[in-house]
Symmetry: C2
Subunit: 208 residues, 2 copies
């Protein structure tokens, strides 16, 4: 029986050894980048630790200096992706005082990130089946940050009053659907057009 | 290597025998309903044809009267789910002349369907890995219908002018994210509140 997210084992955030040197950190990142490519291409079940170390250009034994199992490198990859996406959006919206402008810039940054990491979408989606706790953490952390931003913008009168929780989920749903358009359904619509159309919907709705 | 959706084998829509009698049709539906429950609970890999026939209360050999393989019953399930969702929304919005009201009624019907079929979400998501062609057909068929509705509403002046293709994907993204809230993240927010908040966003946007 599939484990529901709440009962699943917590991702082993501290498992494996944290590298102590810059070279160690570079090797760990190379393994994560290779895992992104290999798991994104082959899928979790068909990807092996050997495939990952071969892609990273390190000996198989090196994997175990940084990670304990394939499960653990997968969890770490999902959480690392979440941190990277949030960091990218935070950087893109830094210094933008108006929430509506920040929505637009954040959506653009997200779609550019997805396009630059075409395997991200599949990896996060596959986490629902491979590591439900990491999937839940990915989306819940994202939603909590999104919601805080909406609450502050509402208080500042930058957006209309509304249910910030549902809005956060709905706006994330829009971003995710457009990201899927790019990397799963291979839409050739430029990101600028996707962002402009979505922004118009988000800001003004579709009422005539 | 994972097969991209476009190159994957087309789902064998005509595979297996189509039942010729009402009783045969009832047995076929019972097997699909059992597959929905078993694959939804165990995941595709861990679900077996034996589990499905046992859940359906039929002999294992009976499965092969209607389906050829586990792959095929899965594809058929994804496509059947798509037909059912579209039929449910069409029924709920029939006779509603105004598109904005139809958006609201359609979203409510979709979320009620997802809540009544809690395994649907996982099954469709898992199709991205198990049967990319069925996944693509599910979303593309849905999007094409959604877009036609928006094009007609735009022509009738019931919604503002805009990029109907991106709007269709964005609106589907909202519905999917709220459905996930219900069945994956176990939100206890009533459907009526989710619909009211999402409708406000869809109709009016968040501009103050």
């Amino acid at each position: 029986m599939r484990k529901p997210a709440a009962e699943a084992d917590a991702p082993q955030k501290a498992a494996g050894n944290q590298p102590k040197t810059a070279r160690g950190e570079a090797t760990r990142k190379a393994i994560l980048t290779a895992a992104e490519r290999v798991i994104g291409e082959k899928g979790y079940n068909d990807a092996s630790i050997g495939h990952i170390t071969s892609e990273a250009g390190v000996a198989q034994g090196t994997f175990y200096i940084y990670f304990t199992t394939k499960e653990q490198v997968f969890s770490e990859l999902v959480l690392e992706m979440g941190r990277l996406v949030r960091h990218t959006i935070a950087e893109a919206t830094q210094g933008i005082g108006n929430r509506l402008e920040a929505e637009e810039a954040g959506l653009r940054a997200f779609l550019e990130f997805v396009q630059a990491h075409p395997d991200l979408y599949r990896i996060v989606q596959e986490a629902l089946f491979v590591d439900p706790a990491a999937y839940e953490e990915y989306y819940k952390t994202f939603a909590a940050g999104y919601r805080s931003g909406l609450v502050a913008a509402e208080a500042a009168g930058q957006i209309s009053k509304g249910d910030t929780e549902t809005r956060a989920w709905a706006l994330m749903g829009i971003a995710r659907a457009l990201g899927e358009q790019l990397v799963v359904f291979k839409s050739e619509k430029p990101i600028s057009e996707l962002v402009a159309s979505a922004y118009d919907l988000i800001a003004n709705g579709i009422k005539p």
